[in-house]
Every structure is written in structure tokens, then in C-alpha cells.
Symmetry: C2
Subunit: 133 residues, 2 copies
């Protein structure tokens, strides 16, 4: 077993074999998205230098940007004290959010208890993913 | 039902009623920790202005800093496109990590496939939490 195998197996995955991955912009540290990896997706991410995830809703592997071209180049991989979360610094091509925003966290709670959209839309999802996607 | 009730109920919780919360430093955007909230912990967080979580291992509510004094003052609350994650900007008092580091993400993957500690320890956990904690 390689050192990397040991490191990947040494993380704590949930009952479904998944670990949350927080993806941050390498320059600004802004959180772009949170998605889930299993050991194979994490290995693909490290070996290819492009983020790969496991889709819980579609039950399949996906590379970020495989449809949109908005890939993420991995700059560094971190884990936390409990080894039950990974944090990945990336250079984001295009925008991270399928709704067209740079970050998926584009809604902020306002004083009235509702959400305000606080970011600018960078692309039209219909044009990038096709209508009805 | 208030607007805030609607907003909190409108988030997507997992089968255990939990939603991951990414806690970031309001000034630098550095990710400090990832922990879990249920609807009550989120409401407490918003209403008190201090982060509260649900401990999966201890099956109880906890306020960050209740033992250490290292509380987190809430500056803003965000959610993502899928409304299944929250991101909370805070002012961190002391350090976020119970291992003594400012951020829980103090380990970075190195080229040999192992973890390097890349942060400076700010306090001695034995002194803050007591020995054997």
C-alpha cells in the first residue's frame, strides 16, 4: 500500500463512504462549493489535478466542468483535525455554480429573515448546459 | 410562521435532520471548521449571534467556545444553490480548532502522499480543555 493509499484510507468517511469536500478559490480563499467525494473520487482528484466528485443524486462520478468546461485545477489538498472533511484550493475556470455564479454561496440572509442574492451572474445556465437541464 | 421560520425550514437537511455548516473567518475568508447544525442550532446561531451546532458523536447541542471561551461572533449567513449547506462568516475569538490551531484545516497533503502540519499552534489544548479531554 502506498503512502497516498494509506492517507486516503485514513480519512473518515460516512456510512455511505463519502466525505464532504469544501472547494475554495486559491487566490481569495472564497468558498466556491461543497460537494462529496468517496475514496476513488479523491484519488482521481489528486492524480489528475482536476476535482472529481460522487453525485449522491445521480449515483455516479463526475468531473467538475465535464458539461460546462468550468473545470477546477487543484492547487492544494487539506484535511481537518478530525480527518472527516477535506478542503481543496483550486483555480476555477469560468464559474463554479451551475446557476451561473462564481460561487454557489450567492445568497445571504437578510434582517427580515429571507435570502438576498449578493453576487453577479457570470453566465446564463441555459446557454452553457442547454435548456431544460 | 415567520419569514425566518420559512427560511430555516426551506433548507435541505439530511436523513438525520442535519446540514453542514462551513465556518469562515470574516476578514480573510479562511475556512476555520466544518460542523453540523439542525434547524434548532441554526436558529440559536442566528438569534444569539454565536455559532451553535449539533454534535453527532455526543448527540447534544453545543455552543462553539462553551468550554474554551473561543466563541465565534456571527457576521453573515449564506446558503448555496441547492440550499443543502450553510456558510457562516464569523469573528473568531482565540482559535477555532480544539487541537490549538486557528483553523481545523492545518494539514496539507505533500508530494509524498502524507500530511504536513502547515500552521502554527496558538494554544496548548491540555491547558485550555484540561488533561485527558
Amino acid at each position: 500500500m502506498s503512502k497516498l493509499d494509506e492517507t486516503i484510507q485514513g480519512l473518515k468517511y460516512d456510512a455511505h463512504g463519502l466525505i464532504p469536500a469544501v472547494i475554495v478559490d486559491a487566490q481569495t480563499q472564497a468558498v466556491l462549493m461543497v460537494a462529496y467525494m468517496n475514496d476513488t473520487a479523491l484519488r482521481q482528484t489528486i492524480e489528475t489535478g482536476k476535482t472529481h466528485f460522487w453525485s449522491r443524486s445521480r449515483q455516479k462520478y463526475w468531473m467538475k466542468g465535464e458539461s460546462s468546461g468550468h473545470t477546477q485545477d487543484v492547487r492544494a489538498v487539506y484535511t481537518d483535525c478530525d480527518r472527516d472533511t477535506v478542503l481543496i484550493e483550486v483555480v476555477q475556470h469560468g464559474a463554479a455554480c451551475h446557476d451561473g455564479y462564481f460561487s454557489c454561496f450567492y445568497r445571504r440572509l437578510n434582517d427580515a429573515g429571507g435570502w438576498d442574492v449578493v453576487a453577479e451572474k457570470l453566465f446564463d445556465p441555459d446557454e452553457v448546459y442547454g435548456k431544460g437541464s
